[in-house]
């Protein structure tokens, strides 16, 4: 204590000072969250930020579904509808799903590999604090003259260049900032995993969440700069008289789509690989069995990542690709079903003859396996080039990617949150409330997105505020489901708050938290101390009950 130089209003909690005199608690005072370099603090901020963005993007989704409740224009104008679809997509992809995974990585990866913190803690702080500014800038455009970006989250040129509202420049800089944030986060995660593993933590002993994130981080470093490049080209086309995407000046609008999807397809795996990792952590715990096929999981994840770079043009089957191109991208896309199938079968095999219990994280994980597979199958249908000419730009596509993103990525994030919440807060969440949240979400998601398959096949185009009468019934069902799903998330938020506060009904958690939980993070106290693994743990020491 005597060796410290602390001002009186910074005096740390006496309990958190060890004999060596270094304080273990968080700094106090208003600057704590702004200046923190602690991976747990930053992880929490990422998760809270993504929750706020999830609710914001969700409100936009509800505006869309409210307008689509009936045919005709009831609530909003078509221009605003387009802004809503665009902002909903951008916020959910870049503001909700990606930061949530980075938040989970921040919290869990150092604890899973036995590291004291992330490898580059100051950069970690920076990569988080860029995000609120990026998204403030993005959301600001809603109040600008000419309105927010209205060209869809894929911002195809020339819609996003020649015909864009003036606020597109703010959009471009927001994308630059979130790109820089993601790249820095990815560098940090790779450096942590490769450099800070505890002695004895070999690569093939890494938990799968760490493995999937390692591969995801490499994908991020490979493609986020390409996204930054494509928006920079847009910026130059709009303001500096270049013609990258303007045919009149010698450019090519199709070039935009090639570059965008060169980023865009790995991006969809960036949003799903960490989800695979989370589910691969949870299912063995509640099936009380070792994960089936660990090594094949690692190789499958790597193959998916590799294949993601050579399939991008399956988003562009209708631009007039030559036959050779259509065939190449069709078959390479279908090839992805093989490693993905390996993963799905491994999860099922893990559950097979396991002693399963159905706590909330497990419910979400099982729903993930089932519903993600449905999304995968509709993806296979879309991969068939001749059939895609009918499905292209219809609600079938909307159904497909919402099935892989909502009960895929989002369910996995929720499962992970419930799974690790007792480790973060020291308290169990309210299990009953969790289960109610799960069932409401499960029913809501399926009510919302399953009918979209049918209206899509029947020909309803995406991104339209009004539609033909024959689509009315299914749209009404989808809107009801969307409101059910949307409002049931309030239960999730309430449950988290209760758990964090340790309210009545939230039991104290022990170290292990779950009966069969396995991994270094479960050897730490619950809640996890502010600083963990200042001394590298002994990997070879068996788990409390001998491990598995």
């Amino acid at each position: 204590m005597a060796t410290q130089t602390l001002t009186p209003n910074e005096s740390p909690n006496p309990d958190s000072v060890d004999a060596g005199g270094s304080h273990h608690g968080p700094a106090s005072g208003p600057m704590r969250w702004l200046l923190t370099t602690n991976h747990k603090d930053i992880g929490s901020m990422y998760l809270i930020f993504s929750l706020v963005m999830f609710l914001t993007g969700g409100c936009m989704a509800l505006v869309i579904r409210a307008e689509l409740f009936q045919p005709g224009l009831q609530l909003i104008q078509p221009e605003f509808f387009n802004q809503m679809t665009t902002m909903h997509g951008l916020i959910m992809v870049f503001g909700a799903v990606m930061p949530a995974f980075v938040g989970l990585a921040n919290w869990m990866i150092p604890m899973m590999v036995g590291a004291p913190d992330m490898a580059l803690p100051r950069m970690n702080n920076w990569s988080f604090w860029i995000l609120p500014f990026a998204f403030s800038m993005m959301l600001m455009t809603l109040f600008m003259e000419g309105g927010a970006p209205n060209f869809g989250w894929t911002f195809y040129a020339p819609l996003s260049t020649t015909y864009a509202p003036p606020s597109v420049t703010y959009f471009i800089f927001a994308v630059h900032m979130m790109g820089i944030s993601s790249i820095m986060g990815a560098i940090n995660i790779i450096a942590t995993i490769l450099n800070l593993r505890a002695p004895g933590m070999d690569m093939m002993k890494l938990p799968l969440f760490v493995w999937t994130w390692l591969i995801t981080a490499f994908l991020l470093i490979a493609v986020m700069p390409v996204l930054a490049g494509v928006v920079t080209m847009m910026l130059m086309d709009i303001h500096f008289g270049t013609s990258f995407f303007d045919a009149a000046g010698g450019g090519d609008p199709v070039l935009f789509q090639h570059i965008f999807w060169f980023f865009g397809h790995p991006e969809v795996y960036i949003m799903i690989l960490p989800a695979f990792g989370i589910v691969s952590q949870i299912i063995p715990t509640f099936a009380r069995k070792r994960l089936f096929g660990y090594v094949s999981m690692v190789y499958a994840t790597s193959s998916i990542a590799f294949l993601s770079f050579i399939v991008w043009a399956h988003h562009m089957f209708t631009v007039g690709l030559p036959l050779v191109g259509e065939l190449f991208f069709m078959f390479s896309t279908m090839l992805i079903a093989v490693p993905t199938g390996v993963k799905v079968f491994n999860w099922v095999a893990t559950m097979f003859r396991g002693s399963m219990t159905f706590e909330t994280p497990m419910l979400f994980s099982i729903a993930f396996v089932v519903l993600f597979t449905i999304g995968g199958f509709s993806g296979l249908m879309l991969a068939i080039a001749p059939a895609d000419f009918q499905y292209h730009d219809t609600y079938f596509v909307v159904a497909h990617f919402h099935y892989v993103l909502v009960p895929g990525a989002i369910f996995a994030i929720m499962a992970g949150t419930y799974y690790w919440l007792p480790k973060w807060t020291g308290n169990y969440y309210n299990e009953t409330m969790g289960k109610v949240h799960f069932w409401l979400s499960f029913v809501g998601v399926n009510l919302t997105f399953f009918p979209m398959h049918f209206i899509g096949l029947a020909g309803m185009p995406r991104r339209i505020p009004d539609y033909a009468l024959q689509f009315a019934d299914f749209n009404m069902v989808a809107s009801v489901g969307a409101f059910l799903f949307g409002f049931s998330q309030l239960l999730f938020v309430y449950n988290i708050i209760c758990c964090a506060r340790g309210s009545k009904g939230c039991d104290k958690a022990d170290e292990r938290v779950w009966e069969a939980a396995d991994g270094l993070e479960w050897t730490l106290a619950s809640p996890a101390p502010y600083h963990t693994f200042s001394q590298a743990p002994d990997i070879d020491q068996p788990m409390p009950d001998g491990g598995r």
């Binding site: 003259e145 490769l194 490979a222 700069p225 070039l255 570059i259």
Partner: protein, 239 residues
Amino acid sequence: MAKQRDNSHKLPLQLTLAAVLMFGFGFALSPLYDVFCEITGLNGKITRTGEVKGVVTVDKSRLVRIQFIAINNEGMPWDFAPQSTVISVHPGEQRLTHFNARNTTLGEMVARAVPSVAPSEAAQYVHKVNCFCFEAQSLAGLTSQEMPLVLMIDPALPEHIRTVTLSYTLFDISAIHNADKPEPSAQSITFFNGLYPEQPNAYSTINDPRLTYYRAPAEPLSTLPGPETEATPSGRLAL
């Protein structure tokens, strides 16, 4: 241990370098895309232009049909059409044909024709000796001109290709063209005028018919009747 320490400093730098290189790669995709199309002939782009070098024997044994298509890009008000919509040539034979263009507006306009060949496989066998599409075409108001095209089909054209379609899309590039000059010659009132009063050319929607039809010199747009009065105060069209 010392080795590990070295690595821990290098790794973030290497990763940062990788990110910077990928940013460059994004830009490199633009020329690479053209190179790829040139090599494979995929995009229907014609790369063989200028005088024919060497001796080419005319293949009298077969005739290839060449169809001409003229398309106006959205909002382009010129009359634009080929003089003959289809010709038959022997491979190796040079042939001259013309397209007609007429500027139907009052003001001077600059246009560029962007060509495309179908089937794309045939693109590498089409040799353009001279083409109006090589340069921007400028026309004063209400004038017209004949635009020449000299081309040759390579005798190496595969037997199964009997018809080649040459399509030209005409783009209005007056705004881009005028932006290079200090004083815009044409009246450049724009679609987004309410938003960018200080930059009349910045967002001029090149292809907007409301703009090009009223591109009369020295006459303010506000005195002309027309659909632009439907523009809402925010500068967007009322639907």
